[in-house]
């Protein structure tokens, strides 16, 4: 947006076609995987550590509706600490009626109890996620996108404290600095790649068939129930990434950012005069 007398912003070609394509496939896929994953979780809303674990064992995380002196409450337990999560987790409203369910209906896919269909969707989109991730990773490595744009340089690493401060102050890079990813972006995007690899491998560890093929995954993650717990922990790390990612997009200028991920062209913010 050129103002009177000033030159228009420089526009650079920021995102290659494959990065843009895999980004949006990823966005849709992760959206469905989270919603269906939470529906699947509701079928047995407890997490354990170890090879096995069922209702008779001590969970590390549990979400339940409980009868208390104050009526039915939603209670979320992490370790030995209980949280009252009535209205959100354990005991929430669906179409105005109070029902006992771990994750509320507005966040699960489908909104109602349906383990069979949630699994079909989850596994279909898991295949899409894995294929999309593989295409992205192989392509990005071959054109050196990962090495050039994501892998932090020594200088990047040294700038972590300053970058953290800039982010806290909501100060966004301008001019030349805005043409490359800053160090926190690099670490976040590399972290997301690792998290998706973690999601796919813990997910595969939940498959009794795949266990027979790759029993070493059970050793790597400490058992099937540990893998289920990690699957959940990684998923929430991805949700945390998405929240920060969206907040940064909005703060950095949503139209320019979103349009650059659609068209590839990014309007470089001008240096402050």
């Amino acid at each position: 947006m050129a103002r009177n007398g000033s030159s228009p912003n420089e526009v650079i070609y920021r995102h290659t076609f494959l990065v843009r394509l895999t980004h949006w496939v990823n966005a849709l896929t992760i959206f469905v995987l989270i919603g269906t994953g939470l529906n699947i979780f509701n079928a047995h809303p407890q997490l354990y550590w170890g090879q096995a674990g069922n209702s008779a064992d001590r969970p590390v995380v549990a979400i339940h509706a409980m009868n208390t002196a104050h009526g039915i409450r939603g209670v979320t337990t992490i370790g030995s600490v209980h949280f009252d999560t009535t209205g959100w987790l354990g005991w929430s409203r669906m179409h105005g009626q109070w029902i006992g369910r771990a994750w509320p209906s507005w966040i699960t896919i489908p909104s109602f109890v349906d383990l069979a269909d949630a699994r079909h969707w989850h596994f279909f989109f898991a295949w899409v996620l894995a294929a999309n991730g593989l295409v992205y990773l192989l392509w990005s490595l071959s054109i050196r996108h990962v090495q050039r744009d994501l892998w932090p340089t020594l200088g990047d690493l040294k700038s972590i404290p300053r970058s953290v401060l800039d982010h806290v102050k909501l100060k966004h890079p301008t001019g030349e600095a805005a043409k490359r990813y800053n160090v926190l972006q690099r670490l976040a995007y590399l972290g997301l790649i690792l998290l998706v690899i973690g999601m796919v491998s813990t997910g595969l560890t939940l498959s009794p068939g795949f266990n027979a093929f790759a029993p070493w995954l059970l050793d790597l993650f400490g058992g099937r129930q540990s893998a289920r717990t990690l699957h959940f922990a990684f998923a929430f790390s991805i949700i945390a990434f998405i929240v920060v990612h969206l907040v940064e997009v909005v703060l950095a200028g949503p139209i320019n950012e979103v349009w650059s991920m659609i068209s590839g062209r990014y309007r470089v913010p001008r240096e402050h005069g």
Partner: protein
Amino acid sequence: MALITRRGMLIGGAAGSGLLLAGCDKILQGDHLNGSASFQRVLAAAQGWTLSSQRFLLGGGALAREFKPSDISRHFKANGTSHPGGEDYARHLEEGFANWRLRVDGMVARPLSLSVDEIRRLPARTQITRHDCVEGWSAIGQWTGAPLGPILKAAGVAPGAKYAIFYCADNLEGEPAKGGQQSPGQYYESLALVDCFHPQTLIAYDMNGAPLGVPYGAPLRLRVERQLGYKHAKYVQRIRITDTLAGVSGGKGGYWEDRGYEWYAGI
């Protein structure tokens, strides 16, 4: 202006994801809607990919992990039917299953009818394995039984046969799904022959060193270690060898399969 844009983005984003979520419900509930049935078929393709990839990876007949006695779960959750009702089962229980028969028929050269004692006299296998429920939990137990492969070999599986269908003595009420109630029905299951001949596939009669308890499928149950719990049919009375799953109940090859779950439950 920037503020309006940002607020607009947030509202738009929230509304967009809400619409997407509602759309997912529509696709699942409205089989009559244009496109939703074919969308479901596309999703079902993933089951084929899973089956083919696992058949490829497990081609060598890889074994499920076997655990140490110290790994056995203190409590093994009993799921599905915990006690088959009916006079017949009650009589069998009273008789100590002395007159329980396991029939093997269908596409076989020599139909069999075996008593529990006869099965106990066959070469046995004991394995400590993990049982994984489709709901997400697991329990470890020790199972002793007769490998199914040699039994089917004795019966002589006819060429062209593809499946074994397991008929059970329990009628299961079912659980709510798709926002409604499941219909009750006779429990049954089916396996591809390749899984029947896997060395860990057993007609089990002992659990943790004692005869199977009623909640665990007394007197005979199936163990098929590389698949989920609902495949492990309990109270088995008959194995029919066939080349099609059509014609039995819903035709999908099992009680839960008829209610939407995967026939191949290796995942």
